[in-house]
């Protein structure tokens, strides 16, 4: 468990290249309604020379931003028939692997999710999938650059025991991948040991914390 203070405040921006800035602006600004909030015109002044370029930013809510680089005169690079503007893959690379890297944008409600579904379905980039996962529901499409975009809502709030479960899974994973033969069976066996070691103590501490928090409420509320 990490004891380091956690001071970061979310995504400032994530940046991708584009060869189709007009399509990118249509998709994010005109179809999804994400405002353009910043842009920079620059050239290659550093040790590596590169073409003049525009770096532009869309607001994706919460003050977080999705940014693109457009380089004048730059042609797409090869690499295979699959993939997106950033990375091309050979024919034999499986789709699940290519799709594993994607951006998921949060919405607060089913109503909001369906609103974005309507916007996409009325455009050149309709929703390709709508899926209920364990505790979230998501819609997916690919933007004009081939980047997979997910819009997702929580079906219920995350419970404290899910944080414990995640911590145990990851500790088990780190142990198992350091061993000779990583597998799901090995992970679940290691995780059972960690459950037996730590889960009961976690619940006692959690109950004690919850009691303490409840007890402190009248203190706070006192005028």
């Amino acid at each position: 468990m990490s004891e380091l203070p956690h001071r970061v405040r979310g995504v400032d921006h994530v940046a991708y290249p584009t060869f189709d800035p007009a399509g990118t602006v249509r998709f994010y600004r005109d179809v999804l309604g994400f405002p353009v909030v910043h842009s920079i015109c620059a050239a290659g002044w550093g040790p590596e020379r590169h073409p003049d370029f525009i770096h532009f930013f869309f607001d994706i809510g919460n003050g977080d931003r999705l940014a693109f680089f457009y380089y004048f005169g730059l042609e797409p690079f090869g690499g295979g028939p699959q993939g997106d503007a950033y990375s091309r893959f050979a024919e034999d690379v499986p789709v699940y692997f290519i799709r594993s890297r994607h951006l998921a944008i949060h919405v607060d409600s089913e109503e909001d999710l369906l609103e974005y579904r309507r916007r996409l379905d009325g455009s050149e980039w309709p929703v390709e999938m709508q899926i209920q996962h364990e505790t979230i529901e998501s819609i997916y499409t690919h933007d004009p650059n081939g980047y997979m975009i997910e819009i997702t809502r929580a079906l219920r709030p995350v419970t404290p025991q899910e944080d414990l479960d995640a911590a145990l899974t990851i500790d088990a994973l780190v142990d198992v991948v350091s061993g000779p033969d990583p597998s799901m069976a090995a992970l679940l066996t290691r995780k059972a040991e960690l459950i037996v070691e730590r889960a009961a103590a976690w619940e006692e501490q959690h109950a004690a914390r919850a009691t303490a928090e409840q007890a402190s409420v009248p203190e706070v509320a006192r005028p």
Partner: protein
């Protein structure tokens, strides 16, 4: 003994309930987990749980003295190692 663990969150409760209906199956608690044990194999019918696809395939949190021999659209089967 065959033992597997399921995290106690709303989606998973029916897995523990249905598993507990099996012969010789006991359901205990270890912290926020259900500890589901039996002397032999434990079989859980997916339709009886009503679990969605994504919930069903991620419901097993741990295995003690056990291995998963079936986890598909029909059933989860956990057997002694």
């Amino acid at each position: 003994m065959t033992t597997f663990y399921v995290l106690d969150v709303p989606e998973n409760v029916s897995v523990a309930t249905v598993a507990g209906q099996g012969p010789d199956v006991t359901v205990a608690r270890v912290g926020p987990y259900f500890e589901i044990s039996a002397p032999g194999a434990i079989v859980v019918d997916r339709r009886a749980t009503g679990c969605r696809h994504a919930v069903w395939y991620s419901c097993v949190a741990g295995l003690r003295g056990a291995r998963v021999t079936q986890q598909d659209k029909d059933a989860l089967r956990v057997e002694p190692v």
